[in-house]
Amino acid sequence: MATPKTQITDSPAEYSDTKRAPLGRVRSTGTPFTRTIGIATIVSMATLAVFGLVLSPADVRQGDSVRILYIHVGTVWIAYVAFTVTAVSSAAYLWKRTRSLTWDRFAGASAEIGVLFMALTLFAGSLWGRLSWGKFWVWDARVTSTAFMFITYIGYLAVRGLGGSHQQRAKRSAVVALLAVLQIPLVHFSVKLWRGLHQDSSVADRTHVTLQGLMLFSLFVSLIAFSLLYLWLLIHRQRVLAMQDALDDKGLDYALQQRRDEGDL
């Protein structure tokens, strides 16, 4: 073969935080680092299952339903962390000196994970609520503003999907992410005020019991396990998004080049 098959070998730092393989050869988003995190996640999740389901005692008042909290607290923690990361990454994108689409992709990846874990939080929380309070839903300020946060970030993801260039997407969604930061405390505060005047007992207060020994430890394991899971998901998702962006940018060139190469044969 006279002419070697053309490959698009440039791998601009724009697309990759690992600077490894050229586009077209990347098969996996895994690296030794993420594999280590992945294994650590599996191990800690197994540990959590053992502690949460077997070793930790049932609660004196809540019984076995307290075990749901080892999931619930972990997922809500991840959701908050994820949305914080989205806000910080968005600010980093908007700040001219640190402007890079990598920040935008971290913001998007983190928001996706946050929405997923917020859904899990609401789901596990309502199951726990049914068992503990006898109802799936209470109009508590924290519960209600959590639901609002969930919807807000679904909106954020919709804004990300609007199309246009990557830069348009990045700027638009970064602004929306920062507006969400403005909005969420306001919603929380107003719902709190709303409940306050209705003089309903705040169910949130009842969860402020002191945790001891194995229960506290299980909760701690839960936070570690879910944090590792978040980190693993975030890095992989960010890389997949980078590949998608690269595909959008270079995909057509690549396909054209391949057709041309066929013609040369």
Binding site: L94, T152, G155, G163, L182, L186
Partner: protein, 225 residues
Amino acid sequence: MLRVARLLAAKDLRIEARSRIVTNQVLPFAAIVMVMFAFALNSDAVVSRVAPGLVWLATLFSLLVLVQRAFAIESADGATDALRAAGVDPAGIFLGKAMALAVQLAVLEIVLLLSAVVLYRAQLRLSGVVLLVTTLVAATCGLALVGTLYGGLAAGVRGRETLLPLLLLPVVAPVLIGATRATEAALGTGGAAVADGWPWVGLLAVFVALFGVGGTLAFGPLIEE
């Protein structure tokens, strides 16, 4: 900036005055929503108890329509691009559009409030007039600012009709809560005292301040494309 805003607001209002879309389509829509609420709730006592909330809910639904309309007139002929090409300050565009929207909303709210008096037997009282007017002004400003902000974002993109409600409704939840409680206090619904309403006006004021500043800063980047 303020001169730009005034000119833009005047332009928008002139378009509305000539096209009569607001009076001929949005107001009847809001009125039918009020009637439908009565159908759904099916009780004079319940309807008169929740009248303030229904007024504000109908306002929010109409806000969605008004915002779509306010940006449809811009994006249809690429007017926003022309404005930007003319070097008009985005903050001026933002405030101008918000001012025009606020005027339309205020008209709508007064009509809705009167329809609540007629249809739901809501009682207006003299001692609550100051509170009521303040609430109307504060809530209208808040809704107009946020509506313009997210309307500008959704303008000119595919799927804007469905995106706008998803983005806008969660944001205006504090306005719904604050304005409803303040209006209840002003009207004395459910035995509320006038003095109970002022903290809610405070909430509305905070909302207006935050989104006034935030929106002025954010609008430029949002419409720049």
